[in-house]
């Protein structure tokens, strides 16, 4: 099949992921493959298990079974900071910023794992630390500009508008230098203009070499933006294909109660 990209191009390969909460089987045997440089969409009705898949992938929940190969190595699912180190960064469905830190500081936190100063380095602030700090500030500013919230760099994150908060979260995730950026409903609550500029942002992120995994409710956005789309329903993957074909898949249409996709 065309979608089975050749091995060298596969960035993420999730096999047989299952996860249940008490009686709720949130994910059953979900497998999917994301190619390097793709924008890959993950859609499905509310409660289908999309966020749970993210949480497993990024180590916040441990999976009941299954494993993930990422960039040629086994992913340490279960340890979020290691997952991030391996190159997966994410945003959250209900924005999770550091509310009482400035926008700039939020992005600077994203540099944590790509910087090294120890307690001693921090206290003595030797040349290496100073250089590192300058680099952190510099990159953070550039990222803020990249996502378009540089004007609010010194404002507390909680005082940013909703759209800016979503963008700030993306900037913070990018600061970790991910190979794969996972966005959980980034357009939720945005108006049409904001959605359009978000779309541009995602496209330029991909153009800069970062693969994007996108959960989205806005079907139009997904269909226009994604190279391939997987559909989850009741924790099961019921389709995975290019947007056009997914859209016409009867199972998918049914999952959305026929019509939402039309």
């Amino acid at each position: 099949m065309a979608r089975e990209a050749s091995v060298s191009e596969v960035l993420l390969d999730a096999r047989g992921i299952a996860k249940s909460f008490g009686g709720v089987q949130a994910l059953r045997d979900v497998s999917l493959t994301i190619g390097r440089g793709e924008i890959y969409g993950l859609i499905g009705p509310n409660g289908a298990g999309k966020t749970t898949f993210f949480n497993v992938l990024t180590g916040l929940y441990s999976a009941d079974s299954g494993e993930v190969q990422f960039d040629g190595a086994r992913l340490d699912i279960g340890l979020p900071h290691l997952v991030t180190r391996q190159g997966i960064a994410r945003t959250f469905q209900n924005i999770r910023l550091f509310a009482n830190m400035s926008a700039l500081e939020n992005v600077m936190v994203g540099r944590h794992l790509r910087s090294h100063a120890s307690v001693i380095g921090a206290v003595l602030r030797n040349r290496a630390t100073r250089r590192e700090e300058a680099d952190i500030v510099d990159r953070a500013h550039r990222l803020l500009r990249y996502v378009g919230v540089d004007a609010r760099a010194n404002d507390l994150a909680r005082h940013l508008s909703y759209g800016d908060q979503r963008r700030l979260e993306i900037a913070r995730a990018l600061a970790t230098e991910p190979k794969l950026l996972a966005l959980d409903e980034p357009a939720a609550g945005m108006n049409a203009t904001e959605t359009a500029s978000l779309r541009q942002l995602v496209e330029s992120i991909r153009a800069d070499g970062v693969t994007v995994l996108l959960i989205e409710h806005d079907v139009k956005l997904v269909m226009g933006l994604c190279d391939r789309v997987a559909v989850l329903d009741y924790g099961e993957k019921i389709a995975e294909d290019v947007p056009d074909r997914v859209q016409r898949d009867p199972k998918v249409v049914e999952a959305y109660l026929g019509g939402a996709l039309a």
């Binding site: 509310a99 944590h112 700090e133 508008s161």
Partner: protein
């Protein structure tokens, strides 16, 4: 956040201010000694010790958002370590050690920081995976347990001398100069409490310096990030467990150093100095001053050291004048005020009396932007 405040200042003004402050700090004991009596210099010495403690606790509570209710235990660890390593006491239990150990201060203080820090890690490790309240309870318990051990470790080997405490501790001495007696400098007699003032001031400035540097580093940002949203912090690649343990160890080590200084200053330690109420008092300093804001915490330390002293001198007479007798003894009044302060500050001024500029702006009414609560979702 210090950077934000710093940038707005004119460098010349800042320099002049720093010089003025330096002169004021250098002359403080003389001014206070002449104006209010030498007893108040002693109070100021204690204020400095408490500032160190408050800054240590501030790392844990203020930066990392971990409530430690047994913080004074680390102070106790530092103090008893000094007492054991610099007094005749151990010779009693181990005659081969006669005439006791008399280690120099430069060896004891770093060791005290290390040992207290290790205790911090041991204590924090089992709870840090769990929710914050557990840490609060465990530290609360630990504070009491340490006291039980101090009270009872006089048997079978007399380590702590039980409730009587350890006496005859060596005064701190540096380079042959003992801080325990008046020192003659060019004909000016510097009483012991003055000498300790300068020593403690130096130590406090060091602790302030370390606090500021840490706050303004990737480690400080990681602490605050954990406080603000632990899950997001993990997703940013922060190893939250290690970073929290680091906060615990750093905070504890400040306490250990302050404890060592305290033991040398008092030349006496007993379990009574390390009660839960002391932990609460230090917590009060942090909360009242402004959690996470270094100047606020220093202010809280000074305020809450001076206030009880003022109460001690003032509350009795005032009550007698008003009611004809002392209704509330000063000690109770102090605790009552602390308790009320904790409640009222949390309810009405959660950022403390002296919050950082960035938080103050927010209190002044940042109604210009929608508060859709970044990170305010709680589960």
């Amino acid at each position: 956040m210090t950077t934000l405040e710093g940038k707005r200042r004119d460098p010349r003004v800042a320099l002049a201010g720093t010089l003025l402050l330096a002169v004021a700090l250098a002359l403080a004991p003389f001014a206070v000694g002449a104006g209010a009596g030498i007893a108040w210099v002693r109070v100021i010495d204690f204020a400095l010790l408490y500032i160190m403690l408050a800054l240590g606790l501030n790392i844990v509570v203020g930066f990392a958002g971990l409530l430690d209710l047994g913080y004074i235990a680390f102070y106790a660890v530092g103090a008893y370590l000094y007492a054991l390593l610099s007094s005749p006491h151990l010779a009693g239990a181990f005659p081969s050690l006669a005439p006791g150990l008399h280690w120099p201060i430069w060896a004891i203080l770093p060791l005290g920081a290390l040992v207290a820090g290790a205790f911090g890690v041991i204590l924090g490790a089992p709870t840090l995976r769990l929710r914050g309240d557990y840490l609060a309870i465990v530290t609360l318990g630990f504070g009491e347990i340490i006291r039980i051990f101090m009270n009872n470790l006089n048997r079978p080997v007399n380590l702590t001398n039980g409730p009587q405490g350890i006496t005859q501790i060596d005064p701190i001495g540096i380079g042959g100069v003992s801080f325990g007696r008046t020192l003659d400098v060019f004909g000016i007699g510097l009483p012991s409490v003055y000498l300790y003032y300068y020593l403690f001031l130096g130590a406090t400035l060091l602790v302030v310096f370390v606090s500021i540097r840490l706050e303004d580093s990737r480690i400080g940002r990681a602490w605050v990030a954990i406080r603000e949203d632990e899950i997001a912090a993990k997703a940013c690649g922060i190893n939250t467990r290690n970073i929290k343990l680091l906060a615990f160890a750093m905070g504890a080590s400040f306490g250990g150093v302050a404890g060592g200084l305290f033991a040398g200053f008092q030349q006496f330690v007993s379990p009574e100095s390390f009660t839960l109420m002391e932990s609460v008092m230090v917590l009060c300093m942090v909360v009242l001053g402004g959690m996470g804001h270094i100047p606020g915490v220093i202010f809280g330390g000074i305020l809450l050291t001076l206030l009880p002293e003022a109460l001690r001198y003032g509350a009795g007479p005032v009550q007698t004048a008003l009611f004809g007798k002392v209704l509330v003894p000063p000690e109770s009044l102090r605790m009552l005020l602390f308790g009320l302060a904790l409640i009222l500050v949390m309810l009405y001024r959660p950022a403390g009396l002296w919050p950082s500029a960035i938080r103050r702006r927010e209190f002044a009414g940042a109604g210009n932007s929608p508060e859709n609560g970044a990170g305010s979702e709680r589960e």
